[in-house]
Subunit: 135 residues, 2 copies
């Protein structure tokens, strides 16, 4: 069905500190698993559209236009929560991701490990030992 | 004690696509909880230093110099895994965070919600209903 959940932002876009391209980077995270899915950028139009429609909307740097994520693929990202960082130059979005976030068909755009490994990061024994050392 | 875990990267810094400032953004995530802690930027020197020492090292845009995270505060970030995204313009680091990631003393730099809320994002019933709708 058609979903449309409007939000209100307690902060104006004008309060954000923009990067050299006049945009603010947005980290996108699965609201259930906390998996980081992708990073994209917003201008004021994209931010207002996101807040108004509850669907993550970016500024496409390659196409130089508004990019409603999922508009062509159906892989919408529904806003659960938006957070700004301490120096107001980065946003974090917790979303409900429909389908894959990545255009390659991977659930996340971060599917290529370049150093270290998932075993070290997820190995229960190592996690336990790390917690044990702390307590 | 002194910890020093060297890594090797299967990808050269030259293969990354840099932003308008000649840097690559790095999303930093707790390797145990997947909480997003902060975002910072690397130049080649910072990337090589991170790989060589296993301690997250950035390029400080404000001080315009190498920034070994935790060097003054003790709040080091030990590398568990580095991942690059599909278009090679963003890095994701899973780290073991010592102390607080944020200079404000908060564990994460993303402590200010601007829209939506944590209840929606974490409410077990809503998460369950969302999973139920999918299956």
């Amino acid at each position: 069905g058609i979903r449309m959940t409007s939000f209100e932002s307690i902060m104006d876009f004008a309060e954000f500190k923009l990067n050299s391209d006049g945009l603010i980077p947005v980290i996108v995270q699965d609201y259930k698993t906390n998996e980081v899915l992708m990073m994209a950028y917003m201008n004021e139009d994209a931010f207002e559209h996101t807040i108004k429609t509850g669907k993550m909307t970016y500024y496409s740097r390659s196409r130089q236009e508004r990019w409603i994520k999922g508009e062509t693929s159906g892989h919408f990202q529904y806003v659960k929560m938006l957070t700004v960082d301490c120096d107001k130059d980065t946003l974090l979005a917790k979303v409900e991701q429909i389908g894959a976030a990545c255009h390659t068909g991977n659930r996340t755009c971060f599917f290529q490990s370049i150093a270290g490994n998932d075993f070290d990061a997820k190995n229960p024994l190592q996690v336990f030992e790390s917690v044990y050392k702390t307590i």
